[in-house]
Amino acid sequence: MSSMTNTDFSLSIEDLTVSFDGFKAVDSLNLYIDKNELHVVIGPNGAGKTTVLDLICGKTKSTSGSIKFLNQELTTLSEHEIVRRGVGRKFQTPSIYENLSVFENLEVSYPEGRGVFGSLFFKRSTKVIDEIHRIAQEIMLESELETEAGLLSHGQKQWLEIGMLLIQDPQLLMLDEPVAGMSVKEREQTAVLLNKISKGRSVLVIEHDMEFVARIAHKVTVLHQGKILAAGKMEDVQKDPKVIEVYLGH
């Protein structure tokens, strides 16, 4: 299976299956994402959306199938190796270091000094500080650099985690429900942010908020019981009778 041919896609998933005690959470999935594409995966609860992200980033090992990123097979790599290949992943609940400041959160995520001895002798150079400021500005947290991350609002925590990924300049950015728990204004700002950061890389988003999906998605895939129900442009998917029946109808 893993000997599939190389493609022009940034991410190509073919025949991906994972079964937990016989239950197939993801079933023969095929999914392709281009560079500069912002791809959204939607679907009812238990459709296997988060499992797909877990499979790509190595948190869950696949039963069969292939995940190729820039024509490199990911299924055999460990989590940190996948990250170092250029894949970043944001978790569903904001996953930040509450006891560290915003600055330190970004610094810890800076992709240098990743080994034991590298981190012992890591220097906080002007280059690092400048980069942290640049990212902080992008995620609208420049005035909060000294704040302990645990004191941020829920929406700011979500942005911080996105920033912690951006500082690693990933070629594939995966976001699990990035606007969950955000106010209307924060959603607007996040939509602008996502549109901006999808340039030059591929972005894979899981989201429930249809209005938000319509604003950001270049392409949409609807998952249902581990399989693809429909895929394409948001307008087309929304009209699909199968999609309306299992997901949008109620």
Binding site: E79, Y97, G115, L120, E146, M164, Q168
Partner: protein, 383 residues
Amino acid sequence: MSFIYDKLLGGKSGALGLLVLSILILVVFPLALDGFRLNLIGKYLTYAFAAMSLVLLWGYGGTLSLGQGIFFGLGGYCMAMFLKLEASSPENTAIQSTPGIPDFMDWNQITELPWFWEPFSSFGFTIAAILIVPALFAYIIGVAMFKRRVGGVYFAIITQVIAVILTVLIVGQQGFTGGINGITDLRTLNGWDMTSDSAKYLFYYINCALLITVIVLSRFILTSKFGRLLLAIRDKEDRVRFSGYDVANFKIFIFCFAALVSAIGGAMFTLQVGFMSPSFVGIVPSIEMVIFAAVGGRMSLIGVVYGTLLINFGKTTFSESFPELWLFLMGGTFIAVVMFFPNGLAGLWEEYSTPLMKKIRAKIQPSVTAKPSSSSYETKESK
């Protein structure tokens, strides 16, 4: 200069704390206490090494080891083996059926020095062994546990089990280890009388110097990116892993370093107390070390030194008058600390002294408090 100040001494409050501790142990104690009491303090301070190792491993790293006695003991035994071989010269042991081997071997009908005892006749090898053997053992445990992502309670239980196994092994292999009595009757170090007053003072000062060195080295680790990663791993291990770090390697490193620090304490214990026995290896001493760290403040390298001194001072005082009550009192103290002041003595100090200092400073110099504290990381850089 700024590197030394910020990275090694821990900034203003860190440097001040270290200075106060240094004055206390280097000047006040030697002047105020007689030789016997000072030797007792020296013994307590060797436990402080183990407590400090728990600050790194447990306080910052979030990994509780209930087996630091293993490494304390290994360090202590390495030193004791060297001293025992020196004490067992053929002249000293002429009355034995096999002269030239440690007395307990002779009692156990062993007629030849075991192979693993041979190299301990060299002082250089012994020093190297004190630093390498415990760290290597920790490395093996660390790789076996952390690479398989064993952590939390399971790790604590496994370290405790290893402490039990090691104790049983030492007690059971009497002919090789001295059994339950341990390795006793250590008299000279390179021909120099260890029991003399001058030796005791020298060992005490070496112990203090090593303690301060370990604090400074640990500060370097904790103020580096490694230190922030430790906190990050404690807080959100998965986030660190999915930021491109091999988390297990960081835990293995800090576990090995903690083992090394404990082992130095163990070796200094043997030198100052004059023997080593399995009662410093097993569950009880290992848990006592955790209590020292908890009471002193598991986030404070300096705090645990005071915590260790306080608990041991209490132990000596109380167990003289009410021996059966002491264990309950210590258990009660531990529970009270965990429930009411999770950051121990150091946490209490921080809580009450910082506002007080601010008040005093505000009275003396009103402008100081008005100064904004923002972007302090930049000012630190440009110093």
